[in-house]
């Protein structure tokens, strides 16, 4: 991170009445970097985004976009492009009409608008749908047009709020490509998402926000290495959910239940493959029937769980 940061958040504090939502958040983002902001609902992600966009003035600390306060200086927000979670476009207008409108509303001189529209469509691969009304586009194209409208004025910082909600795998892959292309062009990308797989695959750095504090931050691989070392995740899927006695056996083997799937249990082990063999025998001996035992590298999901359960501190 050699270039000077486009975004600097220093000790940001914000409260709604008695409830303090941000409790001293620090965050920096350099050009050409993708940062995934993670955290459970209510962690303060939306409030942090609003302060970065200048919509909320923090009660303490400072937000700077290119060194300027976005809440006080409107022109500071010129470097910012926001992609809301919803399809924030005019449904009856075509893609190019939408982009031209948002370019004008971003104070772009009229002469520069057509070229900017073409560029944004090319970057998001929506040129072939330039003259199609947004309401007639597929979900994937709508998402890409949604991004195009945020980059048409060529912002240095792009904020994406849950960009992959409700999109299929192909559409998500296409979106990831667009985001990487933007990063390669030097755009700083701040991404909030619940899709940890996407965050792990895309982000140069991730930050876990918990109760208004940055609980953990860093490059995903480094964070995973720090948290898990050489351990692998061993995941056991049972033929059926275990009874109380079965659960006792699983816990005795060091396995933890999945939150939403009573038939899924996991543990971390340095020698994952050997552990898988041992577990299979032990569980069968205890009267349990593993349908599948998988061994894989720990993911951000594992890390996220540790952070959420306060088993890991910054």
């Amino acid at each position: 991170m050699s270039a000077s940061p486009i975004l600097t958040v220093t000790g940001a504090v914000h409260a709604y009445g008695d409830k303090t939502v941000l409790q001293g958040v620090d965050l920096t983002l350099a050009p050409g970097e993708i940062y995934a902001l993670l955290g459970p609902n209510g962690a303060g992600k939306t409030t942090l985004i609003k302060t970065i966009c200048g919509r909320l003035r923090p009660d303490g600390g400072a937000i700077r976009l290119n060194g300027q306060d976005p809440a006080r200086i409107a022109s500071a927000r010129a470097v910012l492009g926001l992609v809301p979670q919803e399809i924030a476009l005019y449904a009856h207008l075509t893609v190019s009409e939408n982009l031209a409108a948002f370019a004008s509303l971003a104070l772009m001189p009229r002469k520069t608008v057509p070229a900017a529209v073409e560029r944004a469509m090319a970057l998001t691969r929506t040129t072939d749908r330039a003259h199609v009304p947004v309401r007639h586009l597929s979900g994937g194209y709508q998402r890409r047009a949604n991004i195009a409208a945020a980059i048409v004025h060529q912002p240095a910082l792009l904020i994406l709020d849950e960009p992959t909600v409700g999109v299929d795998i192909d559409a998500r892959a296409a979106l990831d490509t667009v985001i990487r292309d933007l990063r390669d062009l030097g755009v700083a990308v701040l991404l909030t998402t619940h899709d940890l797989e996407q965050a792990g695959g895309l982000a140069d750095r991730v930050g876990f926000l918990r109760e208004g504090r940055m609980a953990l931050e860093g490059p995903p691989r480094a964070l995973l290495a720090d948290a898990f070392g050489a351990r692998m995740e061993v995941m056991v899927q049972l033929a059926e959910a275990p009874n109380a006695s079965g659960e006792g056996s699983l816990v005795a083997e060091g396995l933890s239940p999945s939150v939403h799937r009573p038939d899924l249990w996991t543990r971390l082990d340095v020698d994952g493959y050997a552990a898988a063999g041992r577990l299979d025998k032990a569980l069968r001996k205890a009267g349990l029937t593993p349908r599948e035992i998988r061994v894989r590298e720990p993911s951000l999901q594992n890390l996220f769980s540790l952070v959420a359960e306060r088993k890991l501190a910054a």
Binding site: R55, H92, L105
Partner: protein
Amino acid sequence: MIRLEMTLAMVKVMALELWRDRAALVMTFLLPPLVFLIFSSVFAGATGEDIQPKLAVADLAKTQTSGRVAAALLASSEIRAEAVAPATLEAVRARVKSGQADAGLVIRTDPAVPGRPFLIIADPGRAVAAPLAQARVQQALARAAPDAALRRSVDQLTPALGTLTATQSARIEAAAAALKARPPAVTGGDLFDREDLAGARKGGAVIAYYAAAVLILFALFSAMQGALGLMDERRSGVADRLLAGVAGMGPVVTGKFVFLVGQGVVQAIAIFATAQIVYGVAVLDHLALWLPTTLATAVCAAGLALGLVSVCRTREQAQMLSTFVILVLAAIGGSMVPRFLMPAWLQTVGWFTPHAWVIEAYQGVLWRDAGLSQVYKAWGVLSVAGLAGLALAQTLARLSRR
């Protein structure tokens, strides 16, 4: 300059959104002239002279004179009279009560002899029919039985003049016989001459009234629909996107205002062009004052709509509030019922609605040939109301950054 381009960008967005929404397009520009045509068709003929009430007639007297009066009524083109069968008082009452006739006439005694020969059966729900029927019966008596009318007049005068001499009686009889032989043309009485206002077309005042009433009704309604876009922008995230930008929502509100003013002007053109073409309302002759009146009306509708929508939190809330406000204002302000038919207190309350000012201004310009000094106040009230709504919408848009 750049701010202007932002405003124009928003105007273009709204124009394209409307143009591509065919249902909204019809509602905005086709429905108002259509409703105006229906209203004006109903009310332009309701100036009194053209009303032809349906009259159920029963001749109980069955004298020569009563027969002539009944026949004259049945033949009259000014009233739709029909003889009831059987010719009884009850039959006439039944016709009126059932709504088959607007009023009833029973000729109880010979109209030529002293007394009250005629009984009018009136339905209070159609009160206007009774006096109209009464007037037509008097006309029929004067036309078909002028001799009987003369004799009734003489009978009324006799107590004051004293008993007539034989010579006088003979002259009256001769005059009656002459009248019976050659009834005079009856034009409406000897008391009145009539002068119609120069250049005034029958029903013109009513046409101007309803053109204005329908315009403000639909201008407000359409402006509300357009202003609801603010809610859609909040819901779809467009507002979030714009609020994260340099300009915020200010140019969006201004752009919507400019578009809605333009939309109101086009609606006015559609309605008043119809009034000019179909009814000959002299809009083009009064263009100099019509234009500012139209602009003030459109500014008022656009500003009020944006202000009203801005104070709401959800689209549903805005829709409910706007429907409520539009209907109540229209009812009080005279868009549904002519204001002169309202009680005095309600007419006074009406001045708190834009409708009353709009109607008054257009009627002044198009019907009373009012000058600037008579309409400037309406322009002022309408413009100030609209600009106040715009200011409220702008203020709330700024606050919505949070």
